[in-house]
């Protein structure tokens, strides 16, 4: 160990300089990534704008018209109709439903997945049923969910829950099944057993897989909100898109789509940040 110590102290100065250089290079790399990542959508908008202008179509609004609609949807003062300045209400309602369903799926899916992954009896009991129910598209549940929960937000929450549940459950099961059995041996020889094993070994060891599941599920949850809000709720981003369609207001449809995309993107970044923080021990996971 002594040789390590001497090497580290002797090279402290150059190490600091190198760290600074590395940090600068990293910053440049980040700027480049942002420029490239934002550049492509701007290019798409330009193509969209040119295409609308050249074909002279009236079915698709130009990016400028959508921008005006977005402004009106956010702050009002342009069209002053039922949608002016209502963005926060719709976002808030959708967020409630998305996260109602998503957290319900996580609260049930993670513990259940850990138990199914770990307890053979439970696996034999439930695995065939899960495999049978999983391929059923969530949209096929729409009629039944409206019978169960009526017209209203609960049906939407149920659909989001269904869509988010399977990725969380399956990834958790997979994560638990792929834990190195040596870790269980090591833990048990150190005096760990029972519920302590779940909390101290099974949960942290499968956390990378659980977070993969949460991220996939979270994407599905935002996708399903449009379907969920087709069930006849008056507010929410999905209902805005549906209303836009009924009213033939394509600018409103596209505005709703962009807001849903933005919400999904921002919240996904939050999940990535949380998982990077919790999984800093895992070198494969950081991105």
């Amino acid at each position: 160990m002594n040789d390590h110590a001497t090497i580290l102290t002797e090279t402290a100065e150059p190490v600091a300089a190198a760290a600074l250089r590395r940090r600068n290079r990293l910053r440049l790399e980040t700027l480049r990534a942002i420029a490239l990542g934002a550049g492509f959508p701007i290019l798409l908008i330009l193509i969209w704008d040119r295409a609308v202008a050249m074909t002279g179509t009236r079915l698709i609004p130009s990016p400028y018209q959508v921008a005006v609609m977005m402004y009106d949807f956010s702050f009002g003062g342009v069209y002053d109709d039922a949608f002016s300045g209502t963005i926060l209400i719709h976002v808030w309602k959708s967020v409630q439903r998305v996260y109602g369903g998503f957290f319900l799926a996580a609260v049930i899916g993670i513990p259940l997945g850990m138990m199914i992954g770990r307890i053979k009896l439970l696996r034999q009991l439930l695995d065939p049923t899960i495999s049978l129910l999983r391929p059923i598209p969530v949209t096929a549940w729409l009629p039944l969910s409206m019978i169960f929960f009526g017209l209203g937000p609960n049906a939407a929450i149920f659909l989001v829950f269904l869509g988010a549940f399977y990725p969380i459950l399956l990834n958790t099961m997979f994560g638990v099944r792929s834990i190195d059995p040596r870790l269980f041996e090591a833990a048990s020889m150190l005096g760990c057993s029972g519920a302590g094993m779940f909390r101290q070994i099974v949960l942290p060891a499968s956390l990378p897989a659980i977070f993969n599941g949460l991220r996939i599920a979270h994407g599905f949850a935002w996708i399903l909100i449009v379907v969920g809000e087709m069930t006849g709720v008056p507010t929410g981003l999905g209902s805005v898109v549906m209303d836009g369609r009924t009213l033939s207001r394509t600018d409103l449809v596209i505005t709703g789509m962009i807001v849903i995309g933005a919400c999904g993107f921002i919240t996904d970044r939050i999940i990535v940040a949380v998982s990077n923080r919790l999984l800093s021990w895992s070198p494969q996971h950081l991105e």
């Binding site: 870790l183 041996e185 048990s188 020889m189 060891a205 021990w281």
Partner: protein, 260 residues
């Protein structure tokens, strides 16, 4: 920490092990009898498939013997316990815990007072020379450092018997030499019993009080060499090499020439 006042003898009586392989059963261990007094350093050596790891895992309590019994001071081993600690070849550290958290895992299971846990942990972090690396995760350590953590994790848990399954097999020659040296120091200081599985005759003669040569088909203990050389041992001395030759000869006498 060592239990010099209450010597605990490890006894293995008529232990056999059969594994199911497809429809067949393979006899991994023929009846094995063995007595190891507290504080002895024993190396198990033998060709692959001679059952040395199986025997170690039975003593650890990870496997049940098909017949016979392993016991400590007459108390049968029925499962893993904190009196015995295994050091695996692939470390098996908890990757989400820092060095300090890995080492304190055992004491934390026993719900000792916080100060006592911290004191024990600090002591063993220092003993294996990882004070500077105490807050690193296993993925940020070299192989030699990881194996130091694994040894400290077992010792911090008050284990009396240190079971090691080719612990230095994955390390480069220089690191291995250094760890062998450190292991002997730790063993001397703590007075634990060490049972060490290895492929290397030189490693066995360097470390052990006693070298058990195992042979395969089914696995059994073929011969029992006592190494009386004073430590630290000189690898180049004639006595050392004579022992090395004797043991190597016993070892190769059992290698069945493979038939085409």
């Amino acid at each position: 920490m060592s239990n010099a006042l209450h010597p605990e003898t490890l006894t293995v009586r008529g232990v056999t092990k059969r594994f199911a392989v497809g429809d067949d059963e393979v006899e991994a261990l023929a009846p094995v009898d063995l007595t190891i007094p507290q504080g002895e350093f024993v190396c198990l050596i033998g060709a692959s498939g001679c059952g040395k790891s199986t025997l170690l895992r039975i003593i650890a309590g990870f496997e049940e013997p098909s017949t016979g019994e392993a016991s400590i001071d007459g108390k049968a081993i029925t499962g893993p316990g904190s009196d015995r600690g295994m050091v695996f070849q692939d470390y098996a550290l908890f990757p989400w815990m820092t060095v300090r958290q890995n080492i304190s895992f055992g004491p934390r299971q026993r719900r000792l007072p916080r100060e006592e846990i911290d004191k024990t942990t600090d002591e063993f972090v220092r003993m294996v020379g990882l004070s500077r690396f105490a807050d690193r995760y296993p993925s940020q350590l070299s192989g030699g450092m990881k194996q130091r953590v694994a040894i400290a994790r077992v010792l911090a848990n008050n284990a009396n018997i240190l079971l090691m399954d080719e612990p230095f097999g994955a390390l480069d020659a220089l690191t291995r030499e250094q760890l062998q040296h450190e292991l002997l120091q730790i063993w001397t200081r703590t007075g634990v019993t060490a049972i060490f599985v290895t492929h290397s005759v030189e490693e066995a003669v360097l470390l052990a009080d006693r070298v058990l040569v195992m042979s395969a088909g089914p696995g059994r203990i073929d011969s029992d060499f006592r190494i009386e050389l004073a430590r630290p041992r000189d690898v180049s001395s004639p006595e050392f090499n004579a022992l090395r030759r004797d043991i190597a000869r016993r070892l190769t006498s059992h290698v069945v020439p493979s038939r085409a």
